[in-house]
């Protein structure tokens, strides 16, 4: 059938199962937008106010659904505005296909109006990208783009299509499959490696599982749990692994690393075996690499061969999909009693508490707000965060009950993720409760998207942990820059009135006793709500591994906080 390039793009999206697109029109993608209404309602389009939000919303949508997130932008500034969102998806292995309009073919390379070399710009932050110069290539290119984006280690793919290619007509030919011959992600682990891994687990007296985003991407929740229970091994989840394992499970230890639980950092240092599943030994997890897990052998379960040995050299590698690898491994492991190790972990937990804070009636503690939100929703919601102190507290106190319900920007650490991220999640899960846990700094990086929220009536609950600062910056300046607070203090707008300006219910809590009431009010309000939680301004996030230090050098909670923890048992613990 004859079609224009624009129609071909939309036809391909339908065939790839795309239901939702986030985007913003402009000169170079107007043919695409011109054709779009003919595909309503099979494709729903959400108009964002800045293209960065389109890429970030597509990213969050993809994380929650496991489908490819799709965003549209025009050439030049439209395309470059996507860059932060694409980089975010790249760092966290999220399948996103970005379709950008480009200037007409005759202008490419001649600095045409709104021309930017977006394929050149995005080479380092995409799995692959394409500039389509021939309309007949559109079906094959998009089929390849979707396959590359979501298979193996997922990631973003950008397809740049000149305006005149979108307008040209040609026969639409849909390829049965499109698999670039140079692209062969691993699937099945080597059976000998599986046996060897099982042997290491059987030999180990002090093992730990470190579960990362790969568990969630591969939807290997049951397999991970089976490994933990079958082999009797406790589970630590990285920031992006949170909600990959039930937080109330007796084998769950929480998060490791820079703001992880103090006990985990010490346990990792004492462990004789790490079973790393779908994680890449990020510096925020390992601390100073040369002192990381000095006593441990390592089993690395990983789909991306380039991650193996990049930071930590494994003893055994299972190369393949996390779910497939775990299934194979589960077939080989046996239960082993490890009471000494569990007693040791219990002693560490008591000696190095990480989740206590003063019950302060005078001030609103940020930890209290976050804990209260988890409590009052019974963990039955999606939690989207920004980046900074509030993100780390949200990670530490996480109580979500659903698998894959903690959506956050990990590798890139993109402040402002919380608003477009929550939009992507709410669009993907229209009937479910979505809480955006926001920083007052990051919130202002994307708050123009409150218009998108209001326009579409997305009933997101925004909780701004408002400490009047770029809180993590202030914390670093206080701890590592002699208290020289530069450019970290924020003169904020009146967030309640800002919400109201967009037609969103705005609430505020300034005293501790207000907190449950406003959360309750927000939960009862059917539409979007923004709550400005005026929290204690100088609260620091602990535990903390200072930048460049080893996990053994974790700074624990302040003394007065530790005093609040349950008293240590009789077990002697030396540091």
């Amino acid at each position: 059938m004859q079609m224009t390039g624009a129609e071909m793009i939309l036809e391909c999206l339908i065939r790839e199962g795309v239901e939702v697109v986030f985007g913003l029109p402009g000169g170079a993608n107007l043919p695409l937008y011109d054709a779009l209404p003919r595909y309503f309602p099979r494709i729903r389009h959400y108009l964002v106010r800045h293209e960065q939000a389109a890429a970030l919303a597509a990213d969050a949508y993809a994380r929650v659904t496991g489908r490819v997130g799709v965003c549209f932008a025009t050439s030049g500034p439209g395309a470059t505005n996507l860059v932060t969102g694409i980089a975010n998806a790249w760092m966290d292995s999220v399948p996103v296909v970005a379709i950008t309009g480009s200037v007409v073919r005759g202008l490419i390379g001649r600095d045409g109006f709104q021309e930017a070399d977006i394929t050149g710009i995005t080479i380092p932050i995409t799995k692959h990208n394409y500039l389509v110069r021939d309309v007949r290539a559109i079906p094959r290119v998009l089929r390849e783009a979707f396959y590359i984006a979501r298979s193996g280690r997922p990631g973003p793919v950008l397809v740049d299509i000149p305006r005149d290619v979108q307008q040209e007509r040609a026969e639409f030919e849909w390829p049965e499959e499109a698999r670039p011959r140079g692209y062969r992600p691993p699937v099945e682990p080597d059976p000998r490696a599986v046996e060897q891994a099982a042997r290491l687990i059987a030999e180990s007296d002090r093992p730990l599982i470190l579960a990362g985003h790969g568990v969630i991407i591969a939807q290997a929740y049951d397999e991970l749990r089976e490994l933990a229970e079958r082999a009797n091994v406790p589970v630590i989840t990285t920031l992006l692994g949170i909600s990959g394992f039930p937080p109330d499970h007796p084998l769950y230890l929480g998060m490791p690393g820079m703001h992880g639980m103090h006990w985990n950092n010490l346990a990792i240092s004492e462990a004789d075996l790490l079973i790393a599943v779908g994680m890449r030994f990020d510096d925020r997890v390992t601390g100073r690499l040369k002192d990381f897990a000095p006593r441990a052998r390592v089993i690395h379960i990983e789909v991306d061969p380039a991650e193996v040995g990049k930071n930590v050299r494994p003893t055994v590698t299972l190369l393949g999909d996390a779910r497939v690898c775990l299934r194979r491994l589960n077939g080989e492991v046996r239960y082993k009693e490890r009471s000494e190790w569990f007693a040791r972990l219990e002693a560490l937990k008591q000696a190095y508490p990480s989740l206590v804070y003063p019950d302060d009636p005078e001030e609103v503690r940020p930890q209290y707000v976050i804990q209260k939100i988890y409590e009052m929703t019974d963990g039955d919601a999606y939690f989207v965060t920004g980046v900074g102190q509030h993100q780390m507290w949200a990670a530490q106190f996480f109580r979500g009950r659903r698998p894959n319900s903690f959506i956050t920007s990990g590798g890139l650490g993109t402040m402002g993720y919380e608003i477009p991220g929550a939009i992507g999640v709410q669009v993907a899960r229209p009937g479910d409760l979505v809480w955006a846990i926001c920083g007052d700094g990051g919130f202002q990086m994307t708050c123009q998207e409150l218009a998108t929220v209001a326009e579409n009536g997305l009933p997101i609950k925004f909780a701004i942990i408002d400490n009047g600062h770029h809180g993590m910056v202030r914390q670093w300046q206080q701890l590592f820059y002699r208290g020289n607070l530069v450019a970290s203090r924020l003169r904020n707008p009146d967030f309640v009135r800002l919400a109201e300006a967009y037609g969103i219910l705005g609430l505020r809590a300034v005293r501790r006793e207000d907190v449950p009431a406003v959360i309750d009010r927000a939960l009862r309000h059917p539409g979007p709500v923004l709550i400005d939680f005026r929290v204690k301004q100088d609260e620091n996030c602990y535990p903390m591994v200072p930048p460049g230090a080893s996990l053994q050098e974790t700074i624990g909670l302040p003394e007065e906080y530790r005093a609040l923890a349950p008293k240590p048992s009789a077990v002697e613990v030396e540091s």
Binding site: R67, H128, L131, E177, R179, P180, R184, P305, A306, K310
Partner: protein, 188 residues
């Protein structure tokens, strides 16, 4: 080093690439981003239409396994391997423009002959010498010719090929056979 090169050991990586726009850009970009210092890079057509062959030389201090794995991930790269420890034939070509004074002509001619190089261009005041060999040989010739006045030099960088009858990369049909369609996760 095999052919008497006394310089620090380097890694030689050979690859087979798709002949597509941006392929070389992606390789160079990945090397730059990951800090793989490129000592030489040669890309050209292969015996198969649509396929390029590349020889990449990186500093010996770099983890060659990371080079192979990071570049091997690129969609344009069909096959890539580190041949530093394999039995390879290594060649480089150089063109060297040398001053051609009347009293030194016989010396230059002798040196060129001793290296089995060739004089490929003659003008009243200069000659261009063409030499092929491993880097050690090219370096040695350049050092000797420097006494006569090297005006300029251009070198290709290292080309490498496995010795013996086996191809350096698996044939395409084999690649296709080995291909296991990676399952795409079902939407949640």
């Amino acid at each position: 080093m095999r052919d008497g090169n006394i310089r620090r050991r380097r890694h030689t990586v050979i690859a087979q690439l798709e002949d597509r726009p941006g392929a070389l850009n992606r390789i160079v970009s990945r090397c730059r981003q990951r800090g793989f210092d490129i000592e030489s890079l040669v890309v050209g057509r292969s015996e198969t239409p649509g396929l390029l062959r590349m020889t990449l030389v990186v500093d010996g201090g770099i983890d060659a396994e990371q080079v192979v794995r990071q570049l091997g991930k690129l969609v344009d790269v069909l096959d890539i391997r580190d041949v530093s420890d394999e039995d390879t034939l290594v060649r480089e070509m150089a063109l060297i423009k040398v001053r051609w004074d009347a009293d030194r002509r016989t010396h230059i001619t002798e040196v060129v002959r001793a290296f089995r190089a060739r004089i490929v261009d003659v003008s009243p005041a200069s000659v261009i010498v063409e030499v092929t060999g491993d880097e050690g040989k090219v370096d040695a010739l350049v050092r000797l010719l420097q006494d006569y006045g090297v005006i300029e030099m251009v070198r290709t960088g290292r080309l490498a090929m496995l010795r013996g009858p086996a191809p350096s990369h698996p044939p395409l049909e084999q690649l296709e056979e080995a291909y296991e369609y990676c399952p795409v996760p079902q939407p949640r």
